[in-house]
Symmetry: C2
Subunit: 215 residues, 2 copies
């Protein structure tokens, strides 16, 4: 990890961290990230996309025809932001109202993965990221599918995490009032898997789908 | 609404829409957005933040000292992306595996809200966005709090929505196999409100907090 002006924690530094284990945990738990880049005109573009982490590299993938993927393949700067919204922080005033969250920002230069082995490992990791073990339950990608897909790598090097937990901070002058304060926890849960309309009834729900359920 | 090269739906156009009612519904349901901008060095920066919509304007706010807010206040281009992840799409191959989602991308030039009345309406809307009616349960912001806060407006004009629902599309050649396919629905739920440690026990949970609960 290296620290730069971009990863210096300026606002609310007590919420910030450069702890790599924390950064990895936040990245791994999130099904998707929001990937920021600049378009050909220099204007910002933020794309929601699935990701996976292998060691200190974040991978994303997409259609070889995608505008954003083609830009990233050119090796431009990116900012990948991952956010878990853990709840509402209800203060006695609007000013101190907030959210509990865990977020990560990763800055760096994107790289097109042109090594076929690395690309295959990344594609398997992306499949397994939300469905643990799924890549071994399905057939291998075909040459045509691989040709239609671009894999982009972003080093998790210039990165920081920010975490807020717990009660609202309140203005001392508001503490005596009868205004409610506290938190409302949020969670992502999954409902039971829904078989595809064209699935034969005898095919059981696989381990990967059971492992993907969130309660 | 006006349509530009940026809002033209290129990838998977059948998932795309410029329907304003759909765009508004996706914006309103999301507690937070991911706001993309370029930093002073031209590099992308993606900031997760709470927002609110009033008519055709999206408002965000933050500390007057925040780097991103100061950049946006200068009237630079922004891209606000909002994503609801509705579930996993489990195909019989990695290539056709996907996510069900509803997303919006709003492009445009940010504007610092310098009219005090508009800023106050926006701040109330941001409070009420996740806690309906909360602004009328709490005291008004103080002059000092207002001075410490910047409100930024982004017109919802150059915008598009993208929605994916339903079963995986699968390669016809994979349909005969005994590989499971279907969807795993995801939902955000809230747990019961947790009173602050310093809240007097007789203070009841207010209507705003009850209205914010998600099941």
């Amino acid at each position: 990890m290296h620290h730069t002006e971009r990863t210096r924690l300026r606002r609310e530094p007590q919420r910030g961290s450069h702890d790599l284990a924390l950064i990895h945990a936040i990245v791994d738990e999130a099904p998707i990230c929001h990937l920021g880049l600049t378009d050909v005109d220099g204007h910002p573009l933020v794309v929601p996309t699935i990701h996976a982490r292998l060691g200190d590299i974040l991978y994303v993938h997409g259609s070889a025809a995608s505008r954003a993927l083609r830009r990233l393949a050119g090796g431009i700067e990116a900012c990948c932001t991952i956010t878990h919204l853990d709840g509402l922080v209800v203060a006695r005033s609007g000013f101190w109202s907030s959210m509990n969250y865990r977020s990560v920002m990763i800055f760096g230069r994107a790289r097109l993965v042109d090594d076929p082995d690395e690309a295959m490992r990344a594609l398997d990791a992306i499949v397994d990221h939300v469905l643990p073990g799924r890549s071994s339950e399905i057939r291998r990608p075909t040459a045509k599918e691989i040709a239609a897909t671009k894999v982009i790598a972003l080093p998790i090097d210039e990165a920081s995490a920010k975490v807020r937990t717990g009660d609202p901070k309140d203005d001392p002058g508001d503490l005596g009032t009868d205004v409610w304060a506290g938190t409302v926890p949020f969670r992502v849960v999954s409902d039971p898997p829904v078989p595809a309309a064209n699935l034969a009834p005898h095919v059981p729900v696989p381990a990967s789908v059971r492992a993907a359920s969130r309660r």
